[in-house]
Subunit: 393 residues, 2 copies
């Protein structure tokens, strides 16, 4: 294979596995994120044979279609996409940058590979370039994605911090995109709580983006991992941001949108979560706040769960949480006891029949309830009837 | 009938209708709100015969059961509730207060009787004492109940005002309970918009409650109506508040909780709305606000609709509203166009094949899209390839 010389010498060992890893790394460089045709070809033929076919000038498209389900038209379109990048020097440059920065390539099947990415099917990433500890990727079950607006409000950042801090302290990984605003607040709070946090970038991980978060991204890499499916040297284009968002939701047990603008990438992350069947939550906020409007829309129209506490986020992510709703939600009293209490006074003594008249109840029933209240010390009986005990109500 | 002398002389005319009205007024005084046994008796026997039976010392409970479905045990329990109030002087005193204050009794079947109260079945009120214009009650279709915490925040009062003002200006009645906080803000804004607003009180309408809202309640009566199902002289007990809440939701096409405390009566109003099958809405707010917590709970656990604009309230109430979601919600671009645009620059000219390489796409497809962009004026072609037109993106 013409491209073999580019790979890390370690991987050049003359065994099938190393060659397969190498071929998959080449595929990672040839394709844009989410290339389903490449995904299906590799799944059916293996990375090595798929690459051989892609490089051949006379591929047997009929045999390929039979083996992979990729139609000749899809295949030809794919080859036209991939061929402009079949350039050894270009691919090797990205790999060399990674090597220089200590950035490692995690591939499907590796011990630390996050298997939940398999839910993306043919659109799963072909590799993840990792700055920091690749094992952090393997520890994202459980985890929650906290995402949202770059132009977040103080309220949104406060909520993101509170949620991230609580989740991280309970051993739940916090996944986000390292952007300004909500993302940054979530990563920072998770680090502050000494928990696990992972950032997914849209471009190559050797280049911190946004630049203003270079220090934060460095801290995330120290304590957890910063990952991207595109090789070093790749610019963070809009397309790659959108595809990066699918990784954020696929890695996490649940995705929570904290605040978002109308054209926000968070909506896109939310849509990915929904299409993967991952639970989706949204944090409500003031209706007067533009950045909460998308959250409300997600709740109104896209069945996002309204989440207001870290416990509710954990519940969303499938963590078993005992929320004392029954206690907190004890409704107003609506029974006969209420009617009798309403008719009692702490100052004036009242006869049972008068209490019954005021309550509009049977005097016998009222008498029975009064006896019950007396047992509980709530009322007292005197020569002129009943009255409420002052501190009982 | 012993009690006949108590009624307004007009109603004493020797005709069946006047006698029936009189008997129903007596029933209104004998019962506490929502007395289903009285409701079923009156529905089956008519108010006059039901009253005769209730006053008899030897009622034929078998015949009553057969006619009304009220069992002998229920009937006897009912009589024991009603008899303490079968006191002509007591009932007459309340009627005299009403006459003195110009307060009129609206009864089922009257022209202005709000027929939607019929949905309460046997628990429907037997009459409504009205201060102001009884016709206002008949004009509550369409209407919306805006309810909430007495201890509202500035945010909650702002939202209540905004919603009430918009709804009232569009001819939708605003129903509430005249309490401090949300209720007051809703009434005031509806009055300010020159619209219809109706207040339901828990006690007699001759006594403004809360006292601090005496002036506001007077203004509501001038422009619309202040109503209660209990006669003048009745204290606003907790039981009556809870029953008053059922009238607020039954009168309205939809109930919206703006802010509420954990033990708030608003939850009770919401529960009534839900049990009547009336649409229920709740306004989200900051999760850091205790008064928004109940709203979030209604959204999370009781299927309340998250409402954030007056249009959404109108939609909830069944008003046809064209909300331009499709416009507001235009998502991020996720197609091939995005990928090609990502690969273009406003400064650097790029050849098609280079753009294809960066986009990871088939050069022919890229060429086709570039042609399309050029037609739209978004890109321009030069001797060294393509670039984006500056103000096109």
């Amino acid at each position: 294979m013409q491209l073999a010389g580019l790979v890390d010498p370690d991987a050049l060992a003359d065994d099938g596995e190393a060659v397969a890893r190498h071929a998959l790394a080449v595929w990672n460089a040839l394709t844009e994120p989410g290339d389903g045709v490449a995904g299906r070809l590799i799944a059916a033929l293996g990375a090595v044979d798929a690459l051989t076919a892609a490089r051949s000038d006379t591929p047997d498209t009929g045999a390929i279609a039979e083996a992979s389900g990729v139609s000749p038209a899809e295949y030809r379109a794919g080859r036209r996409r991939w061929r402009p990048r079949l350039d050894a020097a270009g691919i090797g440059a990205g790999w060399e940058v990674a090597r220089r920065h200590g950035i490692r390539l995690l591939q499907p099947g590796d011990r630390d590979w996050p298997s939940q990415l398999g839910d993306l099917g043919a659109h799963a990433p072909l590799g993840l370039w990792v700055r920091g500890d690749p094992a952090a990727l393997g520890r994202l079950q459980p985890s929650v994605a906290l995402v949202g607006a770059r132009a977040a409000t103080a309220y949104g950042e406060h909520v993101a911090s509170q949620f991230a801090s609580d989740l991280a302290a309970r051993g739940i990984g916090v996944v986000s995109g390292a952007a300004y605003g909500i993302d940054g607040a979530a990563h920072r709070a998770a680090l502050g709580a000494g928990g696990l946090t992972v950032a997914l970038l849209a471009g190559g991980v050797e280049r911190p983006y946004p630049a203003g978060h270079a220090h934060l991204i460095g801290r995330i890499a120290e304590g957890g991992a910063v990952a991207s499916e595109v090789p070093c040297g790749s610019a963070p284009t809009r397309w790659r941001f959108l595809q990066r968002n699918r990784l954020i939701s696929a890695l996490s047990d649940a995705t929570v949108v904290v605040e978002a603008g109308w054209r926000s990438g968070s909506l896109n992350t939310a849509a990915h979560a929904a299409s993967l069947g991952r639970p989706l939550g949204a944090v409500p906020g003031p209706i007067t706040s533009a950045t909460s409007a998308v959250c409300h829309r997600l709740i109104r129209e896209f069945d996002a769960r309204c989440v207001t506490t870290p416990d509710e986020v954990r519940e969303l992510a499938g963590d078993t949480v005992a929320v004392a709703w029954s206690e907190r939600g004890r409704g107003a009293r609506t029974d006969d006891s209420t009617r009798v209490r309403d008719a009692l006074s702490t100052r004036t003594w009242r006869e049972t029949v008068e209490i019954a008249r005021q309550a509009g109840m049977d005097p016998d029933e009222v008498g029975a309830l009064l006896g019950f209240f007396a047992l509980e010390g709530d009322v007292e009986r005197g020569p002129r009837g009943w009255r409420l005990v002052t501190d009982a109500r």
